[in-house]
Amino acid sequence: MTETPKFDPQRSAAIRHLLIENVEAEPKRRTSHLRALLAGLIITGVVASGSTALALNRDSLFGAPAPSTGVEVSTPPTPTASVTTPPAQETESPARISVATAPIVPQDIATQPTGPTWSLQPPGLGEPGKLVGSIDISEDYALISVAPEHGADLTSESLPASTSSLSVTLVNTRTGDQVWSREWHWDLEAGVSSADARALVLGTSGRVLVVTTGSENGPREVLDLSTGTAVAAFQPAEPGETLKKVSVVPGDSGDVYATLAQRDDQGDVLPYSLVKRFDPANTTDAQWVTRIDAAGVNVGDSGNDIGYAKVTYYAGDPQQSGNGVLDLATGAFVARPEPFEYYPFTGYTIRSNPDEAGGSSTLTGLDDDGNTLWTRTETGLAQVDEVLTSAAIPGSPRWSTVGTGQFVVVSANGVALVDGLTGSTIWQAALADWKLEYPSVPLRFEAQGDVLTVTNFGGSPSSLVDLTTGAWMGFSPWDISYETSGAEYAYRSIDGQVSAIDKISGEVIWTTDLAADSLFFAGGRLVATEGNTLRSVG
């Protein structure tokens, strides 16, 4: 047996030193007294403004709060002015369009299509370093974005870009009508090679937020979903604040919660962040402001309609990091000393708490109000995956699909299908019967009729399982390689041809000549991109 090459310790130390020098060489950062502050800081919990009492009534959600030594600070935001931007280019009468409440089922194309029935050119599509995105709004309507791709300058032979752009277009994907389209171009600041600019659908409020992080010059606007016109400028940050992240509060409020890092007058990072919930069109009137006493704070997306988000924070010493839960209704924050994860599945959420030794995991099912539905204990570190359907979640990126209400637990004890609302085991199977090992490789579970497709991302073939009994039916007769998945068929594009394939049998249903860089369902309709063109498939 040969020895793996090791990093030369002398060169590693030199690189480490150079990296430290490189960071410290950056102007505007003087970290010595920040670290001095952190050295004396003990972070074991954080108290937030807002109605803590209400939050603490939801013990089943938060669990027992950790001892808190943090200091409460609530800072009212300063007024900011609204900015109106030029109207969107409308090509169809502005009938009100709203985000559907029911899942959007992809419309399979059962017979060979004669050809595209429409095509259009969303701004920026096909340009180098751009990524096309789609958010399903309702049946026949999707928001198509063409956004900067992270890392594009590294893979391009050209020099790093000095400008960036984003376009957002609302499309009727049945007719090909462009309802409206907006486009932004901006100069990147020195040292910034690309920015994260995107469109977020603000729940069912009928609004869209266009937001940029990583570049202060990028667009930040609230748009009317039906017309694309600017409702207001989005101005989340006060002087000394840097917008780190924005997440949407699920539901019809149209609110967001934003994490804002803080700096002092000299530009030094202050050892706390503020998290604010507000209407992005009116950031001066925050519903709550929560200070978290840690220099590094990450607030997760809430997912589903659940009214809370996981927070992780770090205070400069590994011993002083921790997790917590933020109540999105009140801003109350409760630290949780033990590791945990939330899995926001359709209709319920699972909280998983592994014990310290990894010998077992406690799974707790929660409803949208945070009440405990059930509790289970699994042997070892349990891997939890939702059983998915092909139906899209309105207002979410195109790969977010609805679950069946069941989930699969892979643990040292085997594989179990569990009902999400009751926590009861529907059936159990041995790992060996499914040709799996523990810990398991990443898996994806999709239900179609009575068949559960288990896609294996560890290199093994995918499997088919009887959804009613858990019996392993065999490996999939095809390699489950496709660009996008409909209700019964999967679709793939190879060498200028698009094919529809039966997802269970692997039978090729039809093949047609159509060049496509990508295929996806938008508004429930199959579309393709090629170069700068978006078109229907059939």
Partner: protein, 198 residues
């Protein structure tokens, strides 16, 4: 679901805010995996060390836009390792002033190349897979790296690469096919050159 003590999102927040100590901790935390990935693509461990340095320099340069996936930087770092390795010469140009300050590597010759290949992939087939992996496009390498070598979940890989899950699946399948084809070609070529004609 992790049980680690270090909270990486928070550590990264501090590092990209200018805390050099936090940045050094991230280097300590991920150096070996970045180095290991670079070894798959570079013939010399010293080049892999240079790639490692450049990946972390990229991390700092691009700190405003780096995103964590599943609360860790490793996906971004590994994809960047592939990109930097692919663009080794260009990346070296960008960071020449810094790389020049790293102590020079010990002299190495053809023997070292052989040794490295041998050390990375001691078995012949393993060596072929390694060689084939290095011939893949950056996109294929990224998919294989995340989904196969690092066992990222479908969603995690999609988030790291900012592409839809369906595209991850299709790219993964094709990348595996290309890797398999290249591996077979390499084995056949090796068989022909090493023992074919008698």
């Amino acid at each position: 679901m992790g049980t680690e003590l270090v909270n990486e999102p928070a550590l990264w927040e501090l590092a990209r805010g200018g805390d050099s100590g936090a940045f050094a901790m991230l280097y300590d935390r991920h150096r070996d995996r970045v180095f290991g990935q670079a070894l798959r693509l570079m013939r010399s461990p010293h080049d892999a060390e240079d790639v490692t340095a450049m990946v972390f320099l990229e991390l700092w340069r691009r700190r405003k836009i780096v995103t964590l996936v599943n609360e860790t930087l490793i996906g971004w770092l590994l994809v960047t390792t592939n990109n930097v390795s692919h663009n080794f010469v260009r990346s070296m140009r960008r960071y020449k002033a810094v790389i020049d300050r790293i102590p020079p590597a010990e002299p190495e010759g053809a023997h070292d190349f052989d040794r490295v290949d041998e050390e990375i992939d001691s078995a012949g087939r393993g060596r072929s897979v390694g060689s084939a992996f290095a011939q893949l496009s950056a996109n294929d390498q990224n998919i294989i790296t995340l989904c196969v070598l690092e066992e990222f979940s479908l969603a995690e890989a999609a988030a790291a690469l900012r592409i839809p899950v369906g595209t991850v699946k299709s790219r993964l399948s094709r990348a595996k096919q290309r890797l398999s084809a290249l591996t077979t070609e390499d084995i056949q070529r090796t068989a022909i050159t090493s023992g074919g004609a008698k």
